[in-house]
Subunit: 154 residues, 2 copies
Amino acid sequence: MSLRSGHLFDGLDKAQIMKLEGIAKMAQVEKGQVIFKEGEKANAVYVLEEGAVELTTFVEKDFELPISILRNRGDMFGSSALLAPHVYSLSARCAEKGMIIRFESDPLKKLMSEDHGLGCKIMANLAKYFFERLRETRQELKIHFKTLLMSTRS
Amino acid sequence: MSLRSGHLFDGLDKAQIMKLEGIAKMAQVEKGQVIFKEGEKANAVYVLEEGAVELTTFVEKDFELPISILRNRGDMFGSSALLAPHVYSLSARCAEKGMIIRFESDPLKKLMSEDHGLGCKIMANLAKYFFERLRETRQELKIHFKTLLMSTRS
């Protein structure tokens, strides 16, 4: 398992990684398979072990905007499961046959509250992760405004 | 001081709030005053005590995009100071004369590492805060795509 290489588990010690492995569930996914859908109750966090996963968001009923494609071992998705309102903010679909690791949020939250150090590191990693995604998303927004500015000038 | 009402300090106990008050510096700000600029080294986190603060980002040299206006006592800004690469990702300008509370990051990080519980709660609050901003920003991006879709159809 790739728990040592993931964003979510950065800085954890061997004992903590072993605890996480104890609640991890490996699953094979086929190309095109929906892992979860935006708006669904978020009850698990995932880590990519092998293959590729595409994250999208609904713009309209029949138009989905691609947000990113995860290809790296250890890439995390479904992290909404760890924060209120516990609803997936994106959809995840398998883009290439592979393996994913599933952490159901109840046992994961239990681990995090029992081992305070583990919980703390995971929250710090989440803060960092969301901060990076926020900066990327603002960057995209800027590009749209720039395009808009240029079109009004021409 | 409004340390009890801020996002950053949610869930802290009285003793922890007192420690934070010990390193807090109150400052009066005048309308138009620049508090920090995007791209500068981020060495302090701020909490709004009174007045209003506008956050913006540079799209072009002479065009700044407004991101939000903070008006609520306890609103946090400058949180980039707590995460690598420790560079402000937005500019903050006083929009209405008021008071702000400044936490220099060195003493704040020292407190967070000495009192693990305090550090942990602050990181969890940060994760929640960035997650909410990320969802808002993605929502804005969707609106742009919707507008774009509509314009290509008409």
